[in-house]
């Protein structure tokens, strides 16, 4: 009996730790070199948000390094947008998965991920303000250089008047021809690569205009050209062009030109008819640079958060009702052993929940379902044991020996049944690796975890609890076998 006392202490310790971790306001573990938050991670389907699968555009060369770089840039951009707990994951075959919890402006987020964001400062010294509309399609030397660099070998370069911009008009999708300057592309002074920092700010007389502040990189690429241009073109225009579209072409103020000439200018401000989101995207693009390779969106999901919240509430309600039913069944059908099984089941639930928070396991709706189903099957071990126990009692064995025999003989069945389902969970986990099948993964993880933990709670914990009960009220049980469910 000594062994059980030891087990009881171990089980109580595990229960205490698990309950502590399950507390909603658990502070996390930050001692002994560990630094870990203990909190629930909700899946996208529960908190709402978007999930995007990106792939290197067909025909582009990518290796490990460029993909790593692309993933890093995507991550920086996403964080730059202020998305908390975004997940950016690289996958085989030039793919990147991006999860954006709580992102409602899907188009905005997608655009920031997808667009390669070529920003140019363009020589507009001969353009009179007001003659070119904002949003006009502008051809620049940089665009031509990039297009010609990516040209397949032996193909003739495109004539300048053949360059177009993709249409922005949904109703009338016609490619727009690019504007030229007397038959030639406009001169690019500097690209966004010359900037070191950028931020969205409010400005204007009423402080209601969104704009983007930027700082040039010291000694950056073509930064000197930029400073020289500003210094020499007071009261003339400079254009800011993003992905071939004219954002604005402010007039260079005389005092700015003077500070550029004196070598004290370190940046400037881009104004345009920006909304807050647009200003933030532009700032993120300037700051974190273009992607090393173009990426295509090949799949995406978006989930409205309200639907998720309803699902969470309902799943919790369903789980509580289900667990109470199972507990009642075990108590009514198996009586005193049922008490031990119920305690084990509660222990099972609390250990699982603590691990979900500790590891952490992302709780999506299928994951919660997997956990609930594992509760349903968790009692299978106890049922196998108790049925065996009843048989032994009916065959005339004494109570203590029947309990021992029940646990010993049922063990192989419990082990086999759990192992076969655990293997199936493993297969499902690998199947769930495919993007479209990823809800499967949550289900496989929680069900599989439940089965493993069940091996401990259904056998060791139930046995310990039952022995403790026998120790306390063993004599009554021996006299009244109906308490054992016989």
């Amino acid at each position: 009996m000594r062994g059980y006392r030891l087990w009881l202490v171990v089980i109580l310790a595990i229960a205490a730790i698990s309950i502590w971790m399950s507390l909603p306001d658990n502070p996390g573990i930050h001692i002994l070199g560990m630094d870990r938050d203990v909190k629930i991670v909700q899946g996208l389907d529960l908190q709402g948000g978007s999930r995007v699968l990106l792939q290197a555009a067909p025909g582009t060369d990518f290796d490990d390094q460029t993909m790593e770089q692309a993933a890093k840039n995507v991550e920086r951009r996403v964080n730059g947008l202020g998305v908390t707990e975004a997940v950016v994951q690289r996958q085989e075959g030039g793919r990147i998965i991006v999860e954006l919890p709580g992102v409602r402006q899907q188009a905005v987020a997608f655009e920031s991920i997808k667009s390669t964001g070529l920003l140019e400062f363009v020589d507009f010294s001969t353009v009179t303000p007001g003659t070119v509309p904002e949003g006009a399609c502008i051809l620049t030397t940089e665009q031509v250089a990039r297009a010609e660099a990516s040209l397949p070998e032996g193909e003739a370069p495109r004539p300048y008047d053949q360059y177009t911009c993709p249409s922005e008009d949904l109703e009338n999708p016609v490619e727009e021809p690019a504007l030229l300057q007397s038959g030639q592309p406009y001169r690019t002074i500097m690209t966004g690569a010359g900037l070191s920092d950028a931020a969205a700010t409010l400005q204007g007389q009423l402080g209601t205009q969104w704009a983007v502040n930027f700082v040039v990189r010291d000694g950056g690429n073509r930064v000197n050209d930029f400073i020289n241009y500003v210094a020499n073109n007071a009261n003339r225009s400079m254009a800011i062009v993003l992905d071939g579209r004219l954002l604005s072409y402010p007039t260079i103020q005389a005092d700015l030109a003077a500070s550029a000439a004196a070598g004290t200018m370190d940046g400037g401000i881009i104004t345009g008819d920006f909304t807050r989101d647009e200003a933030q995207i532009l700032a993120a693009q300037l700051k974190y640079g273009a992607l090393p390779i173009p990426l295509d969106i090949i799949a995406f999901d978006t989930i409205g958060p309200s639907l998720g919240q309803i699902s969470v509430d309902r799943s919790i309600r369903a789980g509580i009702i289900g667990v109470i039913t199972v507990l009642l069944f075990m108590l009514i059908y198996y009586r005193v052993p049922g008490i031990a099984a119920s305690m084990a089941l509660l222990l099972f639930a609390v250990i699982n929940f603590a691990l979900f928070k500790f590891i952490p396991v992302t709780l999506s709706l299928p994951a919660i379902t997997g956990f609930l189903i594992s509760i349903g099957t968790a009692v299978d071990g106890n049922i196998l044991i108790f049925e065996r126990m009843k048989e032994e009692l009916r065959a005339g064995r004494s109570m203590d020996r029947a309990i021992e025999a029940g646990f010993e003989r049922a063990w192989t069945s419990i082990r086999d049944s759990n192992i076969s389902t655990i293997i199936i969970c493993l297969i499902l986990y690998f199947f769930g690796n495919a993007f479209g099948a990823s809800p499967v993964q949550g289900f496989a993880i929680t069900l599989g975890m439940g089965l493993v933990i069940n091996l401990f709670t259904a056998v060791v914990a139930t046995r310990t609890f039952l022995h403790t009960i026998v120790l306390l009220i063993g004599n009554q049980l021996r006299e009244r076998q109906e308490l054992l469910g016989v």
Binding site: D45, G48, L53, R104, A107, F110, L170, I298, A299, F300, D301, T302, I303, G304, P305, S306, L307, I310, S311, V312, R314, S315, R317, A318, I321, G322, T325, V326, F329, Y333, L365, P366, T369, L372, I373, I375, G376, T377, V379, D380, I383, L384, E387, E391, S413, D416, S417, S420, T421, I424, L428, F430, F431, G432, A434, G436, A437, V440, F443, L447
Partner: protein, 343 residues
């Protein structure tokens, strides 16, 4: 005593009554749609969109809008409005909610803007106020899968199914390695497994034809989980038969089998009942999005319990007695000789 083994023909008949309509539905569906069950975008690629409008639009309006936007191959289905009882502080009346499915995967954002035009379907419905949810996309869910990804998922699904089949076979061979006629036990367990697959697929095919239920990645999960539980059930019963056969050497084969089933049936029923309690709780009180998955899991689980007790075991008896055509004729002859000798 209930006669499991003796009434086997009745049990086979019951199974046939469930499976045959399903098979007919699968054949009809294959001719009609090219696949025995309705496949979701997980496998085919495309976009699935759930969207609510403030205005109570009718189906023709939705169709017209999609048509004008330039979609040709689309499916439109009206859904029940989201029940607002679970959302706090809302007094917004539920609008009309729709499920749209189409092949296009690129212009989703454009479509959202297009649909919300006041001259078309109007504003999206949201359970929240305009201040809280200015984009009105709160109750909108879309899922879009390109054809390449769809093909990959299909490939992964086939691989997963094959892997499970191999594991199950290996498991049975291992579990019965020291039993006479081990092959029979394995074959019967696998037939029971196919029974469950056919039952769930057939019912899914019927539901697909009647209510447009679609087979997605989660459906496959349900099937594979069911397979795991089903084989386990068969093994628990067979395990007991294996234990009892030498113990009751004098008894008739079907009596020993009957005894074994009765001894394990408490466990089977108690275990299944608990799983069923949980699933019914999720089905009745749980979230809506998971409902089809649970329904299939529940059907499969019940089929699994039935098939291991009422199919796998009687099949074993039928095999022993030589009642299965083309198999084990010797046993049949011997059995008849015994009968004539006895009379």
């Amino acid at each position: 005593m209930f006669q499991f083994a003796q009434r086997r023909k009745l049990f086979f008949l019951i199974s046939a009554c469930v499976i045959i309509p399903g098979l007919i539905a699968m054949i009809y569906s294959t001719i009609q749609n090219g696949s025995p069950v309705k496949l979701s975008i997980d496998f085919t690629g495309g976009t699935l969109m759930e969207v609510s409008f403030v205005r109570n639009v009718d189906e023709q309006e939705v169709r017209d809008t999609l048509e004008e936007f330039g979609l040709s191959d689309y499916v439109v289905q009206r859904l029940d409005p989201i029940a607002t009882d679970a959302i706090d502080e809302t007094d917004v009346p539920a609008g009309s909610r729709w499920q749209l499915r189409f092949e296009e995967t690129d212009r989703i954002d454009d479509l959202k803007v297009y649909m919300q035009d006041p001259n078309r379907l109007g504003e999206f419905w949201s359970p929240k106020s305009v201040e809280e949810d200015p984009t009105r996309e709160d109750a909108l869910t879309t899922s879009s899968v390109s054809a390449t990804v769809g093909e990959e998922v299909t490939r992964a699904a086939i691989l997963a199914t094959l892997a499970v089949a191999v594991i199950v076979l290996g498991f049975i061979v291992f579990a019965f390695r020291r039993v006479p006629h081990a092959f029979r036990y394995g074959a019967c367990a696998i037939i029971a497994m196919f029974h469950d697959i056919f039952v769930t697929m057939g019912i899914m095919s019927i539901l697909g034809l009647l209510f447009s239920w679609e087979v997605d990645a989660l459906f496959l999960t349900a099937i594979l989980t069911v397979v795991g539980f089903s084989v386990q059930d068969s093994i628990v019963v067979f395990d007991r038969i294996r234990e009892n056969l030498p113990k009751y050497r004098g008894e008739e084969y079907d009596m020993v089998i009957n005894r074994s089933v009765l001894e394990t049936i408490h466990r089977s029923i108690a275990t299944q009942l608990n799983a069923i309690f949980i699933m019914i709780a999720i089905l009745l009180f749980g979230g809506e999005t998971i409902r089809q998955f649970i329904a299939i899991l529940l059907i499969g689980l019940m089929s699994g319990t039935y098939s291991s007790i009422f199919n796998a075991v009687p099949l074993l008896v039928a095999w022993e007695k030589g009642e299965i055509p083309f198999v084990n004729r010797d046993a049949k002859r011997r059995h008849q000789e015994e009968l004539t000798a006895a009379s």
